[in-house]
């Protein structure tokens, strides 16, 4: 014997379905932003990025060497971040800002490629003293998104690091060991002064 429809569709259940359907419909009526596009003017986006040292990216993604991010803004349209350790540049990347209109800006992240055409820290590179866990691009994209959307960095959105050497050295740093980018192969380096 099949229960009557209205006895199955209780009031709370109907309400829940209406809310869900409503949210779906409202979602359909608003186009979702294209990845890399933010609801900010170019000037606002530039202001948020041009002097930012990406502290959350460093906190969540650095390995065992100590790194320092130096931002450089260019003419309101590009921000370059150069990363140094022990005075040596270890990696750089940039964000190009393109105004789609007065309130929307597209941000394109670029890494200079090596002689083999590969991006640094792309997940398949090997470093004696890595600066960041790989792959780095999604983590940079998440840091930029967090800054432009005015929210905290979400490590889950950046994805898990895959570099075991980085993880081991990060573990060392978290337990008081110090690594340097200029450590020679086969040496333990010098004691911290």
């Amino acid at each position: 014997m099949i229960p009557a429809f209205d006895s199955i569709m209780s009031r709370p259940l109907v309400t829940a379905i209406i809310v869900i359907c409503g949210s779906i419909l409202s979602g359909c009526s608003e186009s979702k932003p294209e990845p890399g596009v933010y609801k900010l003017s170019v000037a606002e986006a530039y202001g948020r990025l041009s002097d930012n040292t990406l502290e959350e990216l460093v906190l969540f993604r650095q390995c065992g060497i100590l790194i320092h991010v130096k931002p450089e803004g260019r003419q309101g349209q590009q921000v370059i971040w150069r990363v140094y350790s022990s005075g040596k540049k270890v990696v750089e990347f940039s964000a190009a800002l393109t105004a789609l209109d007065d309130q929307n800006t597209k941000v394109t992240i670029t890494f200079p490629t090596g002689p083999d055409g590969a991006e640094p820290y792309n997940g398949s590179q090997s470093y004696n003293r890595p600066a960041f866990n790989q792959p780095l691009r999604p983590a940079v994209e998440e840091q930029v998104a967090a800054l432009l959307e005015g929210r905290p960095y979400d490590a889950k959105k950046a994805g898990r690091g895959q570099d075991n050497v980085c993880s081991i050295q990060r573990g060392g740093l978290e337990n008081g060991l110090v690594f340097r980018v200029d450590d020679k192969l086969g040496t333990v380096g010098s004691p911290r002064k």
Partner: protein, 190 residues
């Protein structure tokens, strides 16, 4: 038949247990040259970091020993036993022995609790010995699988230190990193 199976299983297990902390390889080098090279060898750098334990090197008979110390106290030692197999051929057997002082808190106990870490230490030193005697750079690919296993075994604690802000271990990790940056700023400008 069952008894024979048990005996075979026990023998295999015993062999497997000992191989966690020892290994041996043959090298095309005179035993005297091998000893000289190993006495001057460095340690597998990335495992111990820039501020790892200090190492004291000793030669005792057919053995070369690297003794890891911190604050003058021995943590563990690598023991390489050299055997002359012929002209320009030497076998090197490597062991890792943790200090037993401190009872259940001893380094030996801690290493026994973390076989993946113990294996990584052995594999890394074995590659260092090979690189030294074969006169070539340290090859990270030789330790990749041991590194991956050791990382996986310790990955959950590293992840939790990143993802779970409220835990004490994460707080200590953050403080350690922050202290490293402060000391860098106060000391040599890097």
């Amino acid at each position: 038949m069952f008894r024979i199976t048990l005996i075979i299983f026990a023998v295999v297990s015993a062999i497997a247990y000992t191989t966690i902390s020892s290994s041996d390889s043959d090298y095309a080098v005179d035993i005297r040259e091998a000893r000289r090279l190993l006495m001057a060898s460095e340690m597998p750098h990335f495992v111990f970091g820039s501020q790892g334990p200090t190492f004291e090197v000793r030669a005792e008979g057919a053995q070369v020993q690297w003794i890891a110390k911190r604050g003058g106290v021995e943590f563990f030692r690598y023991i390489a036993t050299l055997t002359e197999l012929g002209a320009d051929k030497t076998r090197v057997e490597l062991e890792l022995k943790g200090s037993k002082s401190g009872g259940s808190a001893s380094v030996a106990s801690k290493l026994a609790e973390k076989p993946s870490i113990q294996n990584l230490y052995v594999v890394a030193m074995r590659e260092q010995i090979a690189a030294t005697l074969e006169r070539r750079p340290f090859d990270m690919t030789q330790i990749a699988s041991a590194l991956a296993i050791a990382s996986a075994g310790n990955m959950s604690s590293m992840r939790s230190s990143l993802d779970e802000a409220a835990t004490a271990s994460e707080q200590r990790a953050k403080e350690s990193i922050q202290r490293a940056y402060r000391e860098e700023a106060q000391g040599n400008r890097r």
